[in-house]
Symmetry: C2
Subunit: 512 residues, 2 copies
């Protein structure tokens, strides 16, 4: 009887304990630090096997610090442009599947595709993501911040949103599971990074790119990157104090165009001999890196660093059009080929770092390839959220096993890219009307214009210079079929040949 | 020994219990539903002893409903214009004390005062409220949302903020203790209530009054009042689910100019024979009233109504300038004299209703006078927050005793108004350069232009038509001295006589 009572008291205590705020606190905080348009080499942290001239040009001490404390991913991928990446991230779906394959215009129901002589546009979802069904030209999906919020997380978005067009629910981060939104809306870049310009809100001067919510800094010299960081840190005060787990989507507008000087760092790069536009670009990078450091410092000062996961990522490759970049076009991400907008590595391979205290080992390096839709199941797994319901089928795969073991290897998994759009008026390397697949070290690119394919061995040829399609026809055929089969399963949008009215064939399925 | 152990287990259980989320839930939610520029008679709910023609003109069924469920205050006061009221509310200070005596320009360090032939401007705090020290032309004070936040409340601001000018910290509700801000900034009115106008954000058409954060509704027919209500309800979802107490500052832009038709209600008032501008005005009121009803319905549906206090208030009297109002100027708040901008009752007496489930009795009516700085100590008392520290000395007095007892009476307390500013180019009744005091049924108005005073008995003469100063010289003298003594204690700003360079004398102190 006495034993029985002891047991009851024990059960009661345990029950109470698991309902206490302190227990909820055990859930880790998660910060996704998402940079815009940052290339794989736009950092002093080498992601390749060698230190490159670009690594020497840029100064990102806080990325180095984060990599020292966590795990560097050398083969992390996004999509060629921003909205598809942001929607893959938040929905867990591949771009070919969610069909928001190009960037969304802030204007409602306007496709951002350029006109093309050969093709009529593919039926892509040019109005973006929707948390509700029945919104034209959108993908209806459940964003993971909604699941985090339902699980008790304090969910915060700061910075660039760009998930959907104005006049649609996805334009509003409050509809995507966020409890706080500062500065995020339908636009994909800021009108201005300068407080002196009111970030684009001077009376009579606004555009759809004017950044909202920052009047405190109007007329001051506060650079947009700094203003967003200061605002983000304010939002963390309450959840840390209340021991409520938080999710912070720290989505910088930097380093997207307009390429404006962050004056805190600009002169140093001019002194180093860079062309003005490149000095501005480098200053945008270092300003972003300072933000990362400020957040890490804040967490440490608040004693929240040991319970906070930081995931650093970019949304697509560095811009390689010249102008606005200096130098020869498509050399800005060397050794990678091309840049933003391309399915070549320069357009899709990203600097990614993950620090999960107690899980990732310091200075770990993972070479396993991952892709941005993997963030969805990973973050929910980190938060201990299981058996969740989503409207969409999730394509991503949790990379928690990699975080547990940097040597984790899976050469059978295939990653897919699909860009049936005309991003810029003139085609470039890997740019406009391309699909791609990577499996192991092999990557195949499909050109919708003529059905041709390119095959590269990324281990031997990271620069995608040597097309091995003729040398390895069976490999090319197999990968093309794999790509085509997957695109068909996802019912990926394809452009239409104007001359025939026929939809462009998917690779490998009709004998291309 | 056995008894001892029982005690220990009991203490342990109690300790655990008080740390559980369920315990925190016992703190009531608080909603301040603040309307802009709504007069005491701008409602179908009679606040006077009689039902007036204006009560018959307007339709506010949800105010009637709230009054049926809670307590109506017939003698509730604000200040003559909006910013002073908003700062008194959030700081607990009288306007003469915080010295933000007129509305703040959204532009930094710009006084909104009109030029005057007789006077140079009083040294008022024309940049507004600051949560930090050392900001020029601001009052440094601790806002109560900060104290609520620190006590674990989820603090939300939706709608008009207007606490400080751009480029200053007070322009940003995130610096004033709010964890969420939707639509609030430095501006005092919306550029447009229409979604079709992007609420003033159409490219190239913006002003400092363009309302931020509502891109979801751009191009739709969603009236601003409705958009803000929809956004506010979204913010309540998480705290209700998490059983975290919330504070919602639901601060409508309605019914401030521009007087635009809320099309959901406009035709009905045209059909009733109102002039177009008055039909628009009435539609703004009914749209606001619908918002109140929607919030009440939402709380009920979420079973949160029994734990949520609703305080309905306006920030100053109804606009009585004509144009833009129809009819004869200063007749729009009858039986009250004048309107917005005036220290006469039409400028300062407000429709106020408080529903505190379990405390206020249904359909209760309180005739005790209260003033907007009373909200500060009242709300903190409602939230059970004691011994809080503020930078400022609080002038307000909790009205919780009134909520407990509608018959509570205090005829000794004095209320003060101070407007040493030039609001409009031509003086009007009670408008420009006036101070006032009310004690019991007596009210004295001091005219800075000539040092004259007016004395009214509000019980007998709510319309302030019969100046009793000559009939009751001792009463007038005593009240003038009381007013002057208090203004002196607060070091209230006074204008300067241009001709002499001398500061205008405070009432009752120098034999005026």
């Amino acid at each position: 009887m006495k034993q029985r009572r002891k047991e009851l008291v024990f059960i009661l205590l345990i029950t109470l304990l698991f309902n206490m705020p302190g227990y909820a606190q055990q859930k880790p905080n998660v910060i996704v630090f998402l940079v815009d348009d940052m290339g794989w080499q736009d950092t002093s942290l080498p992601f390749w096997t060698q230190t490159t001239p670009l690594n020497k040009r840029y100064h990102t001490p806080n990325m180095e610090r984060l990599a020292k404390e966590g795990m560097k991913f050398t083969n992390a991928y996004a999509t060629p442009v921003c909205t598809p990446t942001r929607i893959s991230l938040i929905s867990g779906m591949n771009a070919a599947h969610h069909k928001v394959t190009n960037w969304t215009s802030p204007q409602n129901n306007v496709s951002s595709d350029n006109n093309d002589e050969q093709f009529s546009p593919a039926p892509w979802n040019y109005s973006g993501l929707s948390p509700k069904t029945g919104i034209p030209n959108t993908i209806y999906a459940t964003p993971y911040p909604q699941l985090l919020k339902e699980a008790g997380y304090f969910t915060i978005h700061v910075g660039k949103a760009h998930w959907a067009s104005i006049g649609s629910p996805g334009a509003n981060p409050y509809n995507l599971g966020f409890m706080v939104n500062i500065g995020g809306h339908a636009a994909g870049h800021p009108q201005s990074y300068y407080g002196q310009d009111f970030y684009g809100n001077k009376p009579g001067k606004n555009t759809l790119q004017s950044v909202p919510d920052l009047e405190e800094y109007y007329g001051t010299e506060t650079f947009l990157t700094e203003a967003l960081t200061l605002e983000a840190l304010k939002t963390l005060e309450a959840p840390i104090k209340n021991k409520q787990p938080f999710y912070l989507n720290m989505a910088h507008y930097a380093i997207h165009t307009p390429i404006q000087a962050d004056e805190r760092f600009y002169q140093k790069y001019i002194a180093a001999g860079l062309a003005p536009v490149e000095a501005k670009y480098a200053s945008l990078i270092e300003g972003m890196d300072k933000s990362l450091g400020d957040i890490m410092d804040y967490l440490k000062a608040k004693k929240a660093d040991q319970n906070t996961i930081i995931i650093f990522m970019s949304d697509n490759g560095g811009l390689s059009l010249a102008p606005p970049r200096a130098g020869t076009a498509h050399t800005q991400n060397l050794p990678l080929k091309a840049g933003k907008g391309s399915v070549n590595e320069g357009g899709i391979r990203e600097p990614m770092i993950v620090k999960w205290p107690g899980v990732t080992k310091p200075a770990a390096v993972a070479n396993q390839y991952v892709i941005v839709e993997d963030f969805f199941p990973t973050i929910l797994e980190m938060a201990g959220i299981k058996n969740y319901k989503t409207h969409q089928k999730i394509d991503g795969k949790s990379f928690v096993p990699i975080l547990n073991n940097a040597n984790y290897t899976d050469n059978q998994r295939a990653l897919y890219w699909h860009f049936p759009n005309k991003w810029i008026p003139e085609d470039g390397p890997g740019i406009n009307y391309k699909s791609a697949v990577r499996q192991g070290d092999w990557k195949l690119i499909y050109n919708m214009r003529d059905g041709s394919t390119e095959l590269y061995n990324l281990k031997e040829d990271i620069g995608e210079q040597k097309n091995e399609a003729a040398a390895y026809p069976e490999k090319a055929k197999a990968l093309a079929a794999k790509l085509g089969t997957q695109l068909k399963e996802w019912e990926a949008p394809m452009p239409v040949v104007k001359a025939t009215g026929k939809v462009v064939a998917m690779p490998g399925l009709t004998g291309n």
